[in-house]
C-alpha cells in the first residue's frame, strides 16, 4: 500500500488496532480515572 519507508508498516497498523480493541483499556461507567484527567489551572507565560 505504501512506498514511503517512513510510513507505518502493516504490523504497526495491526499492533495499534489490537491496542484500541483491548477491553482492558476501555473507560468504564463512572470511571474514576476519567476524573483524574481534569488538569489543574496554570498561569499564562506571556
Amino acid at each position: 500500500m505504501t512506498d514511503d519507508p517512513n510510513q507505518p508498516t502493516p504490523a504497526q497498523k495491526a499492533a495499534a488496532k489490537a491496542v484500541l480493541e483491548d477491553p482492558d483499556y476501555l473507560p468504564e461507567p463512572d470511571d474514576p480515572r476519567n476524573e483524574a484527567t481534569r488538569d489543574e489551572a496554570i498561569e499564562g507565560d506571556d
Binding site: P8, A15, K17, V19, R33, D39
Partner: protein, 241 residues
C-alpha cells in the same frame, strides 16, 4: 511523513477559561491533525461544546464529546495504557492527547514554566526515540522533540505508575478516506497541475499526509495539510473526509 498542525496554546486566544484549557487545546490540535487541516478550531470552541460545563479542567471523556460536537472528529479515551502500547499508537499514525504530571518535566527544557501539577500535552507523532510534542501551556514554543522516556515518565507519574491516560485521535496514515469531490494535483500546492478530479463519495487510499502549500479553510484561515495518494498525486485536506 505525517501532517503536523499549527501549534496551539491555551492562552491563544486568552479567554476566561484559558488557565484550565490545556485539554481543549490539545483536542483542537487533534481535530486539525485528524482532518489534515479541514477542521480548525481553538480551545474556546471546544470548551463551548463541553457537555457538562463546570469550573476547572475538562475531563478526557467530556473532551471527546465536546470535540465531536465542535468538529465531528471522534477521539477515543484509553486509560492505563502500557508505554509500549501507547508508542504503538503513535507509530501507527495516531496523534494523542497525553495526561502528565509536570513535576516530571521540571528542571528540563520541556518544563511548563513554573507550573507543577496535572497537565496535558499533544503528541503528533513518534520519530525514532522521540515524541513530537506541543505543550499548550507554553505559549510561544512550537512542537518539540521530547525524549519518549520523558513523556512516559510524566504520564506514569500522573497515574501513580499505573499506565498512560490518553485520547487517541483518528489515524491519518495508510487509511481509506472518502472524497468530497474535487481536483487532485501533481504536487502539493494549488498552483500545480491538476491531474484529474475525484468524484464525491469516491473511496481513496491515503498513502501519507504532510505539510504543503496553503489553501483556504472553512475557519477563514489557511491550512497546509495535504494527502498523498497512490501514484504520487495530492489532495488538500479539505478534499477528503
Amino acid at each position: 511523513m505525517t501532517y503536523q498542525p499549527p501549534p496551539q496554546a491555551q492562552f491563544r486566544p486568552v479567554t476566561a477559561r484559558s488557565m484550565d484549557d490545556c485539554v481543549p487545546t490539545c483536542c483542537a490540535m487533534g481535530a486539525d491533525r485528524a482532518t489534515v487541516g479541514a477542521k480548525v478550531v481553538t480551545h474556546q470552541t471546544i470548551r463551548n461544546a463541553d457537555p457538562t460545563p463546570a469550573p476547572g479542567g475538562m475531563s478526557y471523556q467530556d473532551a471527546v464529546v465536546a470535540t465531536q460536537r465542535a468538529t465531528g472528529v471522534v477521539g477515543q479515551v484509553r486509560f492505563f495504557l502500557p508505554p509500549a502500547d501507547t508508542l504503538a499508537l503513535l507509530q501507527a499514525g495516531h496523534a494523542l492527547t497525553v495526561s502528565i504530571d509536570t513535576h516530571a518535566t521540571a528542571g528540563t527544557k520541556y518544563a511548563t514554566g513554573t507550573f507543577r501539577g496535572g497537565h496535558s500535552v499533544y503528541a503528533n507523532a513518534a520519530v525514532g526515540s522521540t515524541a513530537i510534542v506541543k505543550d499548550p501551556g507554553r505559549t510561544t514554543s512550537g512542537f518539540e522533540a521530547w525524549p519518549w522516556t520523558l513523556l512516559v515518565k510524566a504520564a506514569m507519574l500522573r497515574s501513580g505508575q499505573r499506565g498512560m491516560n490518553v485520547i487517541v485521535w483518528p489515524d491519518t496514515e495508510g487509511v481509506s478516506r472518502t472524497s468530497v469531490g474535487g481536483p487532485y494535483y501533481d504536487k502539493p500546492y494549488r498552483s500545480s497541475k491538476v491531474m484529474g478530479s475525484l468524484a464525491k463519495g469516491q473511496k481513496v487510499t491515503v498513502t501519507s499526509t504532510f505539510n504543503g502549500g496553503g489553501w483556504p479553510n472553512l475557519s477563514g484561515g489557511t491550512s497546509m495539510g495535504w494527502y498523498r495518494l497512490p501514484g504520487d498525486v495530492y489532495v488538500p485536506g479539505s478534499g477528503l473526509r
